[in-house]
Symmetry: C2
Subunit: 477 residues, 2 copies
């Protein structure tokens, strides 16, 4: 039975990947649709994943010296307009507040799509001397972007995120910060979400509005589409000039400081679903799974079973996030339910197991069964959880490698883009024209120029002119 | 020197309480004003207090079976209008979004002032059977109310809060929940914020828009004004009827469930300031203080001092939230700085202390000096922190008792209201007219009808007619 498809009402991935995704987010009760078009309700199970993401990442931010703050959710139109590239990038997709109560506002306020302008406004207020630098701030909040087409977690009009905003005395320090935070994101995704990512820098076309450089981590989903999973921006002193942020350096000269920002969002939950999920539903990485082990009593009515299961649950509370299902549903129904919900380990215990002083532990990712002595649970469960994490990462990495192609010339590029979902590695001359053409003809965009450059040819895959930059191309969410 | 006023630039409370408050919030770097009128920036030190509040309270919510969720920040106008009392209470003070990008919206969206309507909309979607009940949900978010006059933490156009929203099969269960959460708030305020509160029920006039009953905890600030510190509302099945939320009970009859909501906000930070603060600045309750112990090396340039201070800091990290100030500022400057920032304990260590294997610990609240052996720090510091907590609570309770008066008749009421800031206990007949008159003539509103009723007379303090309800009256924030 371990190879059966227990959950019957999820569309299979191969049949319709988009439908599979929607089935999973709804049936695993991660979200519900709301009466507000394009905005989702994050239900307890989905929110608990986000809380675990927050808790781990917040710890990593604090360890690297960052402090949390809270900025207003509104930005006056005049403030948004101060940095020209920035407003051009965001103004077309913001929500505008025009009235407070019955009165029309003197100046429109947009609901923050991102908070660079607010942080700059604050920095101009509080930064006067080199002693005031650096400021390493972060905030957890929701932001709004008026998207036309939306999908739960991946693209919605409101989403939750964290946005780091830092300001430094020197360009070198700001660049180091930008790269440090990209490394934090990489470590978070690979270690805790078990999701391999490619680190690199965006082309000018794909850069954040107002940035001098945008660094990114790019993951590959089950269907071969790329998902930008976190970005880190270096601003130079452009924002400081626009907002007139100046400080007196040690020689008492007034100079402009240098800034960064970096963010990750609830779309990471979408990334988890599409990296690890299967036709039975969610598969959650142990580090962020709301429940890591679910205990299912078998033949629950038999004497001693429920007591023993409860006792195990209490013991395991010190070791992992554990839950027990004592409901009247059948064990088979429960197996299917927690498979769908992606709980990493299922612990089954019945009368025969109790006789043998053992239980059955089933891994969600491989469905392997382990018979474990009840005496060894405290040591075996952490080991099994670690094995699940490793297994998930290895499997995802293997798939990404299988779905990563090299295109040496234009025809090969088009052939792969049209027929093989995944990343395409190909050389690029650096011109916007080639990027635009590949987008138009092959539907692929430049995901990043990876830090690990390899030379697959010396000619641009699009125009054939000399090229020394390797780019990862792909269709993207 | 222990009685000196170390911090010179804070207005004294007696001189101008409002100015004192503003000085404290700005100079202790809790907030900064923003370019968005009526919205504040919560700076790292202020936000760290909020994070501690969240962390403790969130634990209390989870222990009582509640789950966190996230609802959209927008409410379509038609949804807000579904419950008539509710919309009447909130529509005059909401911010309206009318445009998304360049396009005018078909229907205006308000930025949530509170989320009853969104929760109801969701509940209508997910509740079908008695098996789906109860739902015990909470969310941490920001809300917006378009206030005309604002003050940091106490009243601002945007503020952070938690809002619990629960739904139950029976009225009795919902009422129990309402009271349970009021008790959670009471425990939180008294145990962790060291702030005594009066528990009671609001009069009809002061009830939440749409509630059948509003329970409240009321605290008394230093200046004798009351501060509503948390409320818990019982809705009956009014919202369920307005939103057509029905479930099939065990006999398969379709019936309406019963609801509650309850909330506390960042105004609790204002309550902390105005309950415990003094002319030297903040005094923070240890449970929510970002730094509980600050180590000040004295004669820092002398050999061994900095090493010893650093060693103590590392040792104490396992015991409390500890920080060390190694900056070049003088010890006197540092003493004043951390007094102003309200750090509960200051640990001074200099060459002579090291010789004697001791240090000096100074309590922020009483300024008592304690000489503590370096061998005993791990046991003495938790004890001292506990003493600070107890001391703060006792002092606040004593002041509240001193500032609580009984008025037996109208003249006495007016006399006290005009001359003695504080709570006034007086009997009330139950009529709205008397409430309105006391507000108009004496400037006091009914804070609550306390659960602990006492009979001070049998006549209404306002109209002299028979009265059996004791009310706490007061001027309020």
């Amino acid at each position: 039975m371990s190879q059966d498809k227990l959950v019957k009402d999820i569309t299979s991935m191969d049949e319709d990947f988009a439908k599979w995704y929607t089935d999973v987010v709804l049936k695993a009760e991660l979200i519900d649709y709301s009466s507000v078009k394009g905005c989702m309700i994050i239900r307890p199970y989905g929110y608990a994943i986000w809380e675990n993401i927050q808790s781990i990442m917040n710890g990593m931010f604090k360890k690297t010296g960052h402090q949390n703050v809270y900025m207003p959710m509104f930005i006056p139109e005049s403030l948004l307009e101060k940095e020209k590239d920035h407003v051009a990038g965001f103004a077309p997709e913001v929500a505008w507040v025009t009235h407070g109560g019955d009165e029309e506002l003197e100046e429109r306020l947009c609901v923050r799509p991102t908070s660079e302008t607010l942080f700059c406004d604050h920095y101009a207020n509080i930064i006067h001397s080199y002693r005031d630098l650096p400021k390493l701030y972060n905030q957890w909040c929701s932001v709004v972007r008026w998207e036309k087409t939306t999908r739960p977690f991946l693209r919605s009009r409101e989403f939750l995120w964290q946005e780091g905003h830092t300001i430094h005395a020197t360009a070198a320090e700001a660049i180091d910060e930008t790269k440090q935070m990209l490394n934090v994101y990489e470590e978070f995704c690979q270690k805790y979400l078990c999701m391999p990512v490619i680190k690199g820098v965006k082309t000018e076309k794909e850069r954040f509005a107002g940035a001098e450089d945008t660094y990114t981590i790019e993951a590959l989903m089950h269907d071969g589409k790329a998902l930008q999973s976190g970005t880190s921006h270096y601003f130079g002193n452009g924002f400081a000039k626009a907002f007139n942020i100046q400080y007196a350096d040690k020689e008492n000269h007034l100079v402009y400081p240098f800034q960064t920002s970096w963010g990750t969002t609830t779309r990471l939950i979408g990334a988890i679903i599409m990296t690890h999920g299967d036709d039975n539903g969610l598969v959650l990485p142990p580090a962020v799974a709301p429940t890591q082990v679910v205990i299912i009593p078998v033949a629950m009515h038999k004497e001693g079973v429920l007591d023993k299961a409860t006792e195990l649950c209490e013991r395991l509370e010190n070791v992992c996030r554990v839950d027990i299902d004592k409901s009247e549903q059948s064990p088979g129904w429960k197996f299917a339910e927690y498979e769908m919900k992606g709980v990493p380990l299922r612990l089954e215990i019945g009368p025969k197991d109790i006789e043998k002083n053992q239980c059955v532990i089933v891994r969600r990712d491989t469905r392997e069964k382990h018979f474990v002595s009840l005496d060894d649970l405290e040591t075996e469960i952490p080991k099994l959880l670690a094995l699940v994490s490793e297994g998930l990462f290895e499997k995802a990495l293997e798939r990404r490698n299988e779905m990563t192609y090299v295109a040496k010339d234009y025809d090969e590029m088009i052939e792969i883009a049209n027929n093989k979902p995944g990343f395409i590695k190909a050389m690029w001359c650096g011109s916007r024209e080639c990027e635009d053409k590949l987008k138009e003809v092959a539907g692929v965009s430049s995901r990043c120029m990876p830090f690990n450059q390899e030379a697959h040819s010396d000619k641009c895959v699009c125009c054939g002119k000399p090229a020394d930059k390797l780019v990862y191309w792909g269709k993207a969410y």
